[in-house]
């Protein structure tokens, strides 16, 4: 067996997910590969429907039964694709945890928050009710919930959105997982609360040496919170690399479009927000060739012929585009902004 210090914690190779949608079968994720070492953080960026949440759910083994998963997901070298649900249940909430987007609906309104935080402890660590409760209070305290000893028996509706997200974080951390997947953890929250929650997650990741996959459509969130990033579009990874490297010089026309489309402080009044023309393609009928070809300003016939390969454009920096010579001629990124 390889040395656990250098072996990746999670290794995804050529992951494909086929979903049965109301519009017919759709290849929601194609050829996604990445590896994550212990303690490393990875960001997934993209618009809704680009496959980032499906990728996360396939790591959790929580895709609908009708979904077909191909490729390989290895946790510490052990294959996860094809595990039975019972086997997967031993990993979920224990070695891999997830924080979801909607704190208002992610908690069961009928159960006390204490019981919900204690649930994974009782299940995976076989804690007694008293032990689990004590630990739940400690966890709630750690995530910054005020007065946890008194509020442990309160119900979700008695908390604000930010507090509820803190509770779901406590729940996800209960069993000290190796990998934390945070799927748009702050999208549903007020801007002032967003920063606090992201800081909390960052502190906890650092403190516990967890690996994290952070999913967001917000480039700013990604820039500040992860070491490496992958940009997804139409179910494929279009650009990946160290966050600094990608932001220094973006290679894919889509990433560049996302970057240009962000609102800027100090823009002159009346300046229109830049947008990427066109709409996200339906996963059920993706264009052949490059998934972005229908919206790309640099498209040529060759782009539509076949899915472009990943091109190495810098240290660890890959772009799935055959026109990087043109796209990267104009420097788009934090340096040029």
């Amino acid at each position: 067996m390889a040395d656990p210090a250098t072996m990746p914690l999670i290794e995804v190779a050529n992951l494909g997910v086929r979903l049965n949608t109301s519009r017919g079968p759709a290849q929601a994720v194609r050829g996604v590969s990445f590896a994550l070492k212990r303690g490393e953080t990875l960001g997934l960026v993209g618009e809704s429907g680009c496959g980032k949440s499906v990728t996360a759910l396939s790591l959790m083994g929580l895709l609908p039964d009708s979904a077909g998963v191909t490729g390989s997901i290895k946790l510490d070298g052990n294959e996860l694709v094809g595990l039975s649900d019972a086997e997967y249940c031993r990993l979920r909430g224990n070695r891999i945890s997830m924080i979801f987007q909607e704190p208002m609906t992610a908690l069961n309104p009928m159960h006390t928050i204490g019981n919900q935080v204690a649930e994974p402890l009782r299940r995976h660590k076989k804690y007694s009710a008293a032990q689990a409760r004590k630990e739940a209070i400690a966890l709630l305290d750690r995530v910054g919930l005020p007065d946890p000893a008194r509020r442990v028996d309160a119900y979700p509706h008695q908390f604000s959105g930010g507090q509820r997200q803190r509770i779901t974080i406590a729940m996800a951390l209960a069993c000290e997982p190796d990998l934390l997947i945070a799927d748009e953890p702050t999208t549903a929250l007020d801007v002032t609360i967003q920063g606090q929650i992201l800081d909390l997650i960052a502190d906890l990741v650092e403190e516990r040496g967890m690996s994290m996959i952070l999913i967001s459509h917000d480039l700013g969130v990604i820039a500040e919170n992860v070491q490496r990033m992958m940009v997804m579009y139409g179910g494929t990874v279009v650009e990946s690399g160290p966050t600094d490297e990608v932001f220094r010089r973006m290679g894919h026309p889509y990433t560049q479009g996302l970057f240009r489309a962000r609102p800027k402080l100090g823009a002159r009044k009346g300046t229109r927000l830049k947008t990427i023309s066109g709409t996200v393609p339906e996963l059920a009928d993706l264009p052949s060739g490059c998934t972005f070809s229908d919206r790309c300003p640099l498209v040529i016939d060759q782009c539509r012929a076949a899915l472009p390969p990943m091109v190495n454009v810098g240290p660890g920096h890959f772009v799935r585009c055959i026109r990087t010579d043109v796209s990267m001629a104009e420097r788009v990124g934090a340096l040029s902004a």
Partner: protein
């Protein structure tokens, strides 16, 4: 909590007062003079008038209503026009049959409906789901008196396991009484169970789509555990609402079913009293049914608060 219960109790009282007014006015507006009916068509007008006075039917409407309400409060419901015996004891005799019948029917309904509803939701769109749901479709379409006759044909006539009608009473052992109420209870329950099963299924399916179900799965709970520990309690709110409403249907159903099975219950008493224009019995029986329905729904309301922690806070 107590404020919540108190408010619901006040609503309950107001509903009962409203029901009593409607019952009293409707029965009073019915054509036909009770005294005339009792004496027969050939009776002399003087004799009819004398009986009218004796029964208190010459008093103004409001006075008679208040007398009735006063009687209800102290438990004196007056005497039956036809039998001359106290209405209270007449009803009490019949309740010995109808209350166990209603409880049995409700138990069968809930047992069948919850198991079918949960089973089909857990096996959504699979063969078992489609099969059981088709059965409930048939169940909903069955008229209960017709289904009762089918049951009699099978279990009483052909198999001879149970009697075709009549009530054995409770004196010779509980089993005999239960046995004679079994077929009527099943006939009452089948339609209600079919409806409730569908309600349960859709309630469970709806909760299964909630985000917190995914959260629970993400914690490592198996599908079955999530269903029992997270889904069912949330799904029970709509199911209980329908159960409360069905109780009223079930009581109304006893009027027909007790006649099909020759059971001397409250339903049959109402039926006979209407035929005999024994309006004082009808009025009190209908009031009793109304009270039972209102009380059952009050209990359902209070149970909501026990099941759903959010209700207490909103109503305080």
């Amino acid at each position: 909590m107590s404020v919540f219960v108190l408010r619901r109790l006040l609503t309950l009282l107001a509903t009962l007062v409203g029901a009593s007014l409607i019952i009293f006015l409707v029965l009073d507006a019915l054509p036909g003079n009770a005294a005339q009916m009792l004496m027969g068509a050939d009776a002399s007008p003087d004799a009819v008038r004398a009986l009218t006075v004796k029964l208190g039917l010459d008093q103004p409407l409001a006075v008679r209503y208040l007398q009735w309400i006063k009687g209800l409060v102290v438990g004196d419901l007056g005497n039956s026009y036809v039998y001359g015996t106290p209405v209270a004891s007449l009803i009490a005799e019949r309740l010995v049959l109808t209350i166990p019948l209603a409880i049995m029917a409700m138990t069968i309904t809930v047992t069948l409906a919850l198991s079918a509803g949960i089973y089909t939701a857990a096996n959504h769109n699979k063969l078992g789901d489609v099969g059981v749901m088709s059965l409930t479709q048939v169940g909903i379409a069955l008229p209960n008196f017709w289904f009762a006759i089918l049951l009699v044909l099978l279990f009483a006539v052909r198999l001879q396991w149970l009697s075709a009608g009549g009530f054995a009473g409770w004196e010779d052992g509980i089993w005999l009484g239960v046995k004679s109420l079994l077929l009527p209870a099943i006939s009452l329950a089948v339609v209600q169970a079919a409806i409730l099963a569908r309600v349960t299924r859709s309630a469970v399916l709806e909760v299964l789509r909630e985000d917190f179900v995914r959260t629970a799965r993400a914690k490592g709970l198996g599908k079955r555990e999530v269903l029992w520990s997270h889904v069912l309690r949330n799904a029970m709110i709509p199911v209980m609402t329908v159960m409360g409403l069905q109780f009223a249907n079930l009581l109304a159903g006893t009027i027909v079913i007790e006649n099909v099975f020759y059971l001397p219950g409250l339903g049959r008493l109402i039926f006979q009293s209407i035929a005999n224009r024994d309006l004082i019995v009808v009025r009190n029986c209908v009031m009793l049914l109304a009270a039972m329905v209102v009380i059952v729904n009050f209990v359902v309301d209070v149970l909501y608060a026990f099941i759903d922690p959010r209700i207490k806070v909103h109503d305080l």
